[in-house]
């Protein structure tokens, strides 16, 4: 589904990603962990198509297409979804209007007819229930006045509405209390199937208790320095990143 080969990326002339290799297949959950500044958020930004980042080398293939040549909206149309670490407030644009526009634009991209108003509402209602999103929030402006937890649940609601094949969760657990964390994780688990895949970017092992990864990758200084199973996350939690650094010889 996704193949990243030797990906290098800069921001303002500073190299952040220094050769990422990663392959994700349908049905898989990958966790990417790493200390601050290791390049986790840069990776998600580059994949989603943020223009501030300059890819200097490497290739990203997504379902047979060269992802890096696509505009952000085309990537979404192809089935890529980024759950933002800091969801953006858009005063004056109602959640409903925003979501209906997004759903229908993505449907148009995929060659599907626009949803009728009543079908959209039915779909929305079903997905709101999935993440226990308060119906009142959909009447408000996008993310405006939402609590931290509501914002993150809103991201998962949007993911459910757009039915992506690959979802990247960028530190979705940050700022969540344990109840909100459970709701978000439950939502993801319900959406998971044999045809889609998830990349979960996180600092902490906590989220991985709920969303169990098939692979855990450790990102350090712009490279994936170690890959393992879910037990690697527990090891990191227990022994810290320094242990990995020593082990991989990066602390000289």
């Amino acid at each position: 589904m996704l193949t990243i080969t030797n990906l290098h990326a800069n921001i303002e002339g500073k190299e952040i990603l220094k050769g990422i290799n990663l392959s994700v297949k349908p049905g898989e959950v990958h966790a990417i962990m790493g200390p601050n500044g290791s390049g986790k958020s840069t990776l998600s930004s580059v994949l989603a198509g943020r223009e501030e980042y300059e890819v200097t080398n490497g290739e990203v293939m997504f379902n047979g297409k060269n992802l890096l040549e696509l505009a952000p909206e085309e990537r979404a149309g192809e089935g890529l979804f980024l759950a933002f670490q800091y969801p953006v407030e858009i005063p004056g644009v109602s959640m409903t209007n925003f979501m209906r526009t997004a759903v229908n634009e993505v449907r148009e991209y995929r060659g599907l007819p626009a949803l009728e108003a009543k079908d959209f509402l039915a779909l929305s209602k079903e997905k709101e229930a999935l993440v226990e999103l308060d119906k009142k929030l959909t009447k408000r402006s996008v993310n405006e006045g939402f609590s931290g937890g509501e914002k993150k649940r809103n991201e998962i609601y949007q993911m459910a509405m757009l039915q992506p094949t690959l979802s990247i969760l960028d530190e979705t657990d940050s700022g969540l209390d344990i109840d909100a964390l459970r709701i978000v994780a439950d939502g993801v688990n319900k959406l998971k199937n044999a045809d889609n895949a998830f990349i979960v970017i996180t600092h902490y092992q906590r989220l991985l208790d709920y969303i169990v990864p098939d692979f855990v990758h450790v990102l350090w200084d712009g490279r994936i320095v170690k890959t393992g199973g879910k037990e690697l996350a527990l090891e990191l939690e227990e022994r810290g990143y320094d242990h990995i650094k020593e082990e991989t010889g990066l602390l000289q």
Partner: protein, 424 residues
């Protein structure tokens, strides 16, 4: 048909054109002549016309000072401009002249061609030392008088089609007697093959306990330039609302002055200007709080594409006796490109000591984070920009309480957005 050919519109040619009308120089005209001599046609050295050089605009083309009104235009059809919502009546003016054939008004609204042009009120030009209103007094030869009774909502198609390069001056008056209500949806629209310049003065008298609203929609074509002066006098306990939605015309200058002549007045001003390439839209407002316990609430928003210019200058004046005044003013500008220009000058002049007044101005670009967020959800960049522009315009539009009019306006605004997007 008497027409005076001239290359320039100057103090001298205006006076010459006035004398050619052979009108007796009564007190009003004498005052206007004196005012014109004293202040002249505004140029950039006049602070209030710093960004709108009227002298230059008036002489951009060889406008004739139009003396004999022509009334026939070729292909005017009111249906082309009428909204599909319910109204109590339709008023049509063509080149500033009342057209009874196309108008259909309820019997209890009196509309007549303007008969007396000689009034020139000094008080109307206090705080604004320019001679434009004096020029209008000396030259205007058309206009309507509207007098309401009871409660009505009418649509006014104010249509211009010039037969040659013409400088039109018209003068209107609107009277809303005590306890009456009048709401006017005023569409300013034109189809010109020649450049034309319209200056009109509309005097509005709101009686005690009356409710008045005029929502002006400026949709003129690119050949038409306009200077529109609105003077509103509010008696005690009256409410007045003025909206100026500007989407077309090459040069627009609106001077809007509201005076409270009694206690408990309320005034609401709404402005939305969408300036594309070649649009120059200048809104000047003055709200005079002269009596206690009055409120005013003013919001002007501008969206400007490359090659467009907007100006906002709003003054709130609170006299010494106008205690317990609440006056709010806000101006926000959204620039769509590096060549978009927006000038803003909010002003407060307060002599009372027990008042609540605020004013503010912001200017910025589209939020790039919001844009990326929407695109990451599959929304095309053009669609995302449109949503952000509509969001910006919405809190102004939603001040207009008439829902059908709001829908009608949104359609116009969305159409204009398409044009702005192509220009930025």
């Amino acid at each position: 048909m008497v027409e005076i050919e001239q290359k320039q519109i100057t103090v001298e040619t205006v006076i010459e054109a006035f004398h050619a009308r052979n009108l007796p120089v009564n007190e009003g005209f004498a005052a206007a002549l004196q005012w014109l001599g004293q202040y002249g046609i505004p140029e950039v050295k006049n602070e209030r016309y710093k960004y709108s050089n009227i002298h230059k605009e008036l002489n951009k083309h060889n406008y004739n000072i139009e003396i004999t009104p022509e009334t026939t235009v070729s292909d005017f059809q009111p249906e082309e401009f009428l909204p599909n919502y319910e109204l109590d009546g339709v008023l049509v003016t063509i080149n500033g002249i009342f057209n009874p054939e196309f108008s259909s008004l309820p019997s209890d609204i009196q509309v007549a061609p303007k008969s007396d042009f000689s009034t020139f009120e000094h008080s109307n030009t206090a705080h604004q030392n320019d001679a434009l209103v004096a020029i209008n007094s000396l030259l205007s030869n058309r206009g309507v008088e509207i007098k309401a009774s009871k409660s009505h909502r009418i649509f006014w198609i104010d249509y211009y089609q010039a037969a040659s390069e013409t400088f039109y001056n018209s003068k209107n008056s609107i009277t809303v007697p005590k306890d009456c209500q009048l709401e006017i949806h005023h569409l300013l629209v034109s189809k010109n093959q020649f450049p034309a310049f319209v200056q009109d003065v509309t005097q509005i008298a709101c009686g005690e306990n009356s409710h008045f609203a005029i929502h002006q929609i400026h949709r003129n074509d690119k050949h038409l330039s306009t200077i529109r002066h609105i003077f509103v006098n509010q008696q005690k306990n009256s409410k007045a609302e003025i909206s100026q939605i500007c989407t077309g015309g090459s040069f627009i200058r609106n001077n809007c002055k509201i005076s409270h002549l009694g206690v408990n007045c309320e005034s609401k001003l709404n402005g939305l200007s969408l300036a594309g390439n070649g649009n120059h839209i200048d809104n000047h407002t003055l709200v005079e709080h002269l009596h206690p316990h009055c409120n005013s609430d003013e919001m002007y928003k501008n969206i400007v594409a490359d090659g467009g210019t907007t100006i906002f200058n709003g003054k709130v004046y609170v006299a010494k006796d106008a205690q317990k005044t609440n006056a709010y003013q806000s101006n926000k500008n959204l620039l769509l490109g590096p060549e978009a220009k927006s000038y803003s000058k909010p002003e407060l002049e307060i002599y009372a000591d027990d008042v609540k007044c605020s004013h503010g101005s912001t200017t910025g670009h589209n939020d790039t984070e919001a844009l990326f967020y929407m695109r990451a959800r599959g929304i095309k960049e053009s669609e995302a920009r449109k949503l952000l522009m509509l969001a910006f315009a919405n809190d102004l539009l939603e001040r207009i309480e008439h829902e059908d009019l709001l829908d009608y306006l949104k359609e116009i605004v969305l159409q204009k957005f398409e044009q702005l997007m192509q220009e930025s």
